[in-house]
């Protein structure tokens, strides 16, 4: 089974008019980490996912979903 984590981080960030750097500042990580999460390169920890959800005012499941193919 091949599962990937999809996210709507970029859309939600842009909805609030935030740049990657501004979101990174609020969450307490580097801009690189935000960039890699947005591009699906890096799967964030639960703590980071919860922080992102809090800053973007969305539930975690609205930001991230699993796309699986068997």
């Amino acid at each position: 089974m091949n599962e990937t984590l999809l996210n709507t981080l970029k859309d939600e960030r842009e909805r609030l008019g935030l740049t990657q750097a501004a979101l990174a500042e609020r969450v307490g990580v580097s801009r690189k980490t935000i960039n890699t999460v947005e591009n699906g390169v890096f799967v964030p920890s639960t703590i980071l996912a919860l922080k992102l959800a809090a800053v973007l005012e969305r539930p975690v499941e609205a930001l991230f979903r699993i796309s699986g193919s068997r």
Partner: protein, 139 residues
């Protein structure tokens, strides 16, 4: 300038230093002849390079930058890059050791030369992998 911007700039600097250290390691592997390995000067220079290259891969490398920036420079994204770099080092060690074992069958290279080649391959792979991942993440 915010901490995030400072961390971005420092991250690029760190990646460039990693590439440079990998280059220095490779250069030393090429320039230092097997008969020079025993000399104290050459050996100390090599050990110093190895320690500096190793330090580049640790979170302690940014001890001089403010704590807030240092925290961003070693966040979970960077920690994952470090982990991938260590995996690359592991495979480079296995591969280089296998190649040397095969090629050294009749040559009998000195032990120090073999150690030097394996450590160079291992650290070089880790440095290049880490630097590439860090620069790619910033794009």
């Amino acid at each position: 300038m915010s901490n995030v911007q400072r961390a971005d700039a420092k991250g690029i600097q760190r990646a460039i230093i990693c590439y440079m250290m990998a280059g220095v390691l490779l250069l030393q592997a090429i320039v230092i002849r097997p008969d020079q390995i025993g000399s104290l000067g050459r050996s100390s220079m090599w050990v110093a390079t190895i320690l500096m290259a190793g330090l580049c891969l640790t979170p302690f490398a940014g001890w001089a930058v403010p704590r807030g920036v240092r925290r961003l420079l070693n966040d979970e994204g960077t920690r994952q890059h470090r982990m991938i770099a260590m995996t690359a080092a592991f495979w480079a060690t296995l591969l280089s050791a296998s190649v040397i074992t095969l090629l050294n069958a009749g040559a009998n290279l000195p032990v120090m030369q073999i150690v030097r080649l394996i450590v160079t391959a291992s650290l070089g792979a880790a440095l290049v992998t880490f630097a590439t991942l860090e620069l790619r993440a910033g794009r």
